[in-house]
Symmetry: C2
Subunit: 663 residues, 2 copies
């Protein structure tokens, strides 16, 4: 029993990596299609690699500085664990993005030669590599570190490593993808009048790279952070209340989740006529059901009752429902998106207003769900229960990331089919896969926010414990906590403003470059000359890396500054404030963006005048406003709230020692 | 000494009302101009009256229900005081709006016959009536109730009365003005191509009525609520720590503020060549300086040291600076607005994105100022100091409201000059007065938010005391507080979504009606027939009243519901959460809206292509999105956060008795 308890997490983590390797082989062996397809795929693949390598060059400095600060300020064990977290997160991102840029062309080829089902299988397998790397590296890393060091500090170091990489992956990826997207759309489609994904567009490769950078690597890093964060919080809180048992229980739940996820993957099977969405959903449901069943058993084995299982199921169910609720607000099948499309008839201003109203309204149900989840988890198992709920929500991370990362692969496959002039029937299959990908992406975003909220909350409780405020509490009537609450509440707004500005600046540079190429390369628009794709890739890369520095530094420095100046209680207020406004802003911005996107597509499908009408123009404005909302600022806030909490957790001993310079 | 302490507040309150009466006489005696001017003025005057009377008809029911609930649940003394607060707030709004709709035409007439200085004097006097009514009724009412009952409960009842009216005035006024504005602009200017304020436009009167309803009555009610709320909080906290002395001190500060405000009014004097903005600023500065001087004296007299004065000055100074900071983000003299104008060159999407980024960024400085103010106030006088800071910030409410209400009067005067075809020289004067009004309006909005934040915070502390959580604290680690925090943080988003939807619906109806009149009234566009102004006024009125009900009920019910279900601690969390996100959203929305407005004007002044260019069209989209931001949703949040806190304060005994149904 003890052997299982100790080593099962490591073993299952490794299993996930082995399964990932199996999937990599499967994808790699698949046919990459025609020469033209291979050529385009190589462009995307190389562009993605170039971005990652450039990003890592900057990350090395950032990580080195933090490594030294942690080593000198807190201890070298924590610093080394920080390094391990950073390396594993990087590795997961690299492998996932690498295989995604191979799976895209093979999905297109499978659609061409073998039909929908084979294409779905390749695309999903590509996504599942990212999913399995996230849970594999996450769980094995956390479990090994805990086995070796047995220290909560070391674990928070590991978590901070994951968080730092996540910040850059999310923010950098978000800026990258938006700059490329806006550049490609605005100059290519609107000004030059060439279709989407047209190979004559110089920014088209950067756009496809961006989909991988933002949606595969960014989402993966985000959930890697949540996954590790929730585990670390549950371990640290569990060990306080229930000794070793309390520490290993969440790790075993995660191990169970990996097993369930792998099994779930085999249930993702469509046939030629069914909706691929059903197949993907089936995989998630099977995995969730297995986790629920296993959790009940583990709960009895560990604690002799079902209470821990209730807490975990609370999180799991809330996560599933939040995903579905997100769909209601962002899918054209429901009234909200239809209303935005209708409001577009009176021009872009009403499109924007109604989209903002929908996004703001969409905060209500997820928040009430989270609140109910917190109540349920707490009543069954106290504050430890809240951390367990986060672990429960994230137990199916493997398959959730797989379903989510499937989206950009299908999207890319469509782009490659278009650029390689494949027959319409192929494009029809990839379009169907892509449409499903849009829905799963919206659901994934909802899940990412919900899990970020719960993880940040769990980490917040761990923080309170680390700064020894667990018993005295963090009192909102304490003026320092009030001040922290206000400043913390402001930070997500400032952060969003920064990331939106960054997108504007980066997009501006891309627009200039695309215009320049159209002007100066003879025969480009006629299709007789090739654009300079690499230049656009380089512009997006450089802009993303330069622009992510300021928000990155702000996220790390502001908690440290407040912790040193005003002390641990004020910092607690700051974290609570940032958590509350951050979650709201993230939901609002992601859902507004998703709703605008689908409202535009709904109009393009022939409603309210269809493509080219004034209504369509208004809907395009909404979509363009929504792009940085949903792909840059909104998702980046997830990272912000977790990262600030983890930074506070790691530097907690320092804040306790100083106690606040302003008494 | 004791006599002064007890009766000075009442006496000064009455003095303010006498001064208001003097100003009413002054305005009424002024020449109302030509027959045509009188005719138009009568339309506006009657429209405003019609709106108020219709509003009061609904309010009677709302107030009656709350009166019974308070009487049965808490006690009849509190219920009667609630009634008094509601009546006084209504009275202040009615008198202020009544005289504003008289001052507008007389300002135009003065501009025609006597020049800038005389026009400024009439417009400012009209605004000062509202200002003096707010402080006069507010202080006299609070002081008399405290003298008679000596009860904190009775005072919170009074405050709730003021708040309920404020809700309807702000939300209803905001919806009214936006429906009329959008209807007038979109159909009149854009579709029919007739100029702004053209008498052929059926919605033009409703538009002018709306300016009074939203900006005079709405702003007045908002600051009446803050004024009364800050006093009540300071009295209740003061009496706990310093007995009677602590209760009378803030009342005397308010009395001092009234005196200073009246004196300040006499310093608002321009000459023909100077900038009217300088004259208005001079009045505020004189009043502030007098308050500072007097406060130091009172602080020594009451507490033997300068500490109380420091707390008060903290609030006063923060209020002044927030106003100026608002100007930086929303005036075309600074880089933010210029950047939005420049971004409009690439279309409406970039206009919207950059405006949102500016608004979000603009939260940072005011929040840091508020944080510094809180730290200063607390370190000098504890939690009571925070309430004193709120009183200090609001001590100059009389002249602040006067300067603010001056804006719509000048705006109306310009409209009347246009509709009466007065010479261009007259319009030039009113334009200059109006431009200053736009700046003072933006500053006033900043001040209103800052004071709402500080007042809500002070009331929150009073609430904690009332529910006996003052000593045990409101612990953010308590799961109920966490749940409250999340739900509270969500409410301002939901509320804003509701108010924006309301504007859309109301504007849609107005657009239909204006189009209908243009179509069906022969000779209307040629100027040979008159439009049916009353129909448009009725549509705005009905839409405003119907649409304000749901957000109104939500504001009152949600704290009661959470208080009963989850108990006082959870409700504390809810209030803190709503306060934090509410303040951010209010600043963000108000400043984004103000910045878009001025970016449009900046383009119209001939920059980036000027009027009629594509850039201008994009800027107009920004302005249209910004209208409900800055005139409906943003300012309404001020009311929401204060009202929810006051409701909680009034029903505190109930929550303590029940203690939360979910244990």
């Amino acid at each position: 029993m003890e052997f299982i308890q100790q080593y099962a997490p490591v073993i299952l983590g490794v299993c996930a990596l082995i399964f990932a390797y199996y999937l990599i082989r499967k994808v790699s062996k698949a046919d990459p299609g025609t020469e033209r397809m291979k050529e385009i795929s190589t462009y995307i693949h190389e562009g993605a690699r170039a971005f990652l390598i450039a990003e890592y060059r900057i990350l090395v400095f950032f990580v080195a500085i933090l490594f030294l600060l942690i080593g000198l300020g807190i201890g070298w064990v924590t610093a080394v664990c920080f390094l391990v977290g950073a390396v594993l997160s990087t590795l997961a991102g690299y492998i996932g993005m690498n295989i995604a840029t191979k799976a895209n062309v093979r999905t297109a080829a499978a659609a061409k030669d073998k039909g929908m089902n084979a294409a779905l299988s390749i695309a999903f397998s590509g996504g599942a590599v990212m999913g399995m790397c996230v849970v594999g590296f996450g769980l094995a890393g956390a479990a090994v570190i805990y086995l070796i060091t047995g220290s909560a500090d070391a674990l928070s170091g590991f978590s901070l490593g994951a968080s730092s990489i996540a910040l850059f992956a999310r923010v950098g990826g978000g800026i990258y993808t938006m700059a490329a997207d806006v550049g490609a759309d605005l100059v290519g489609e609107v000004e030059a009048g060439i279709p989407e994904d047209d190979p004559r567009n110089p920014a088209v490769i950067a756009d496809n790279v961006g989909d991988n950078g933002g949606d595969v690597a960014g989402m993966g890093a985000d959930l890697f952070e949540s996954y590790v964060g929730s585990l670390i919080s549950a371990v640290t809180l569990g060990v306080v209340g229930y000794q070793v048992k309390g520490a290993f229980f969440p790790l075993l739940i995660a191990a169970l989740g990996i097993l369930a996820g792998i099994i779930g993957c085999f249930f993702v099977k469509g046939d030629e006529n069914s909706n691929p969405h059903k197949a993907l959903k089936m995989g998630s449901y099977v995995a969730s059901a297995l986790v629920v069943a296993g959790t009940v058993g583990l709960s009895f084995a560990f604690f002799g009752n079902i209470k821990a299982a209730i807490a975990i199921v609370c999180g799991l169910v809330v996560g599933l429902i939040i995903g579905s609720v997100t769909e209601i607000y962002t899918s054209a099948d429901y009234r909200f998106v239809k209303k935005i499309a209708q409001q577009s008839e009176t021009g872009p201003a009403t499109t924007v207003i109604s989209g903002i109203a929908v996004g703001m309204q969409s905060t209500a149900v997820p928040i009430i769900l989270i609140a109910v989840g917190i109540i349920g988890a707490y009543l069954s198992f106290g504050l430890y229960g809240i951390a367990l709920a986060a672990v429960g929500m994230l137990s199916t991370t493997g398959i959730t990331v797989a379903v989510d990362a499937y989206g950009p692969i299908a999207d890319n496959a469509g782009g490659i089919a278009e650029m390689s002039s494949l027959p319409k029937s192929v494009r029809k299959i990839t379009d169907k896969l892509d449409a499903v990908g849009n829905t799963t992406a919206a659901m994934g975003k909802g899940f990412a926010i919900g899990s970020a909220a719960l993880t940040a909350l769990a980490l917040f409780v761990s923080y309170a414990q680390a700064v020894k405020l667990f018993d005295s509490g963090i009192n909102v009537l304490d003026y320092k906590v009030i001040v922290g609450l206000f400043i913390g509440g402001m930070l997500p707004f400032l952060f969003s403003s920064m990331t939106m500005d960054s997108v504007s600046k980066a997009a501006y540079k891309m627009i200039e470059e695309v215009r320049h190429q159209f002007r100066t390369i003879p025969g480009l628009l006629e299709g007789t000359a090739k654009p300079d794709y690499k230049k656009c890739v380089a512009i997006s890369t450089q802009a993303a890396l330069r622009e992510m520095l300021l928000p990155g530094i702000m996220s790390v420095l502001s908690p440290v500054l407040i912790g040193i100046l005003l002390g641990p209680a004020a910092l607690g207020g700051l974290l609570a404030g940032a958590l509350v406004t951050g979650v709201m802003l993230a939901i609002f911005m992601s859902n507004s963006g998703g709703a605008w996107d689908n409202a535009k597509k709904y109009v393009e499908d022939g409603h309210h005048g269809g493509k080219g009408s004034e209504t369509h123009k208004a809907a395009v404005v909404g979509d363009t406003v929504g792009d940085p909302f949903k792909d840059t600022s909104g998702p980046s806030i997830n990272i912000l709230i977790k990262l600030m909490t983890v930074v506070s957790l790691v530097f907690a001993p320092l804040f306790v020692a100083i106690g606040g310079l302003i008494k």
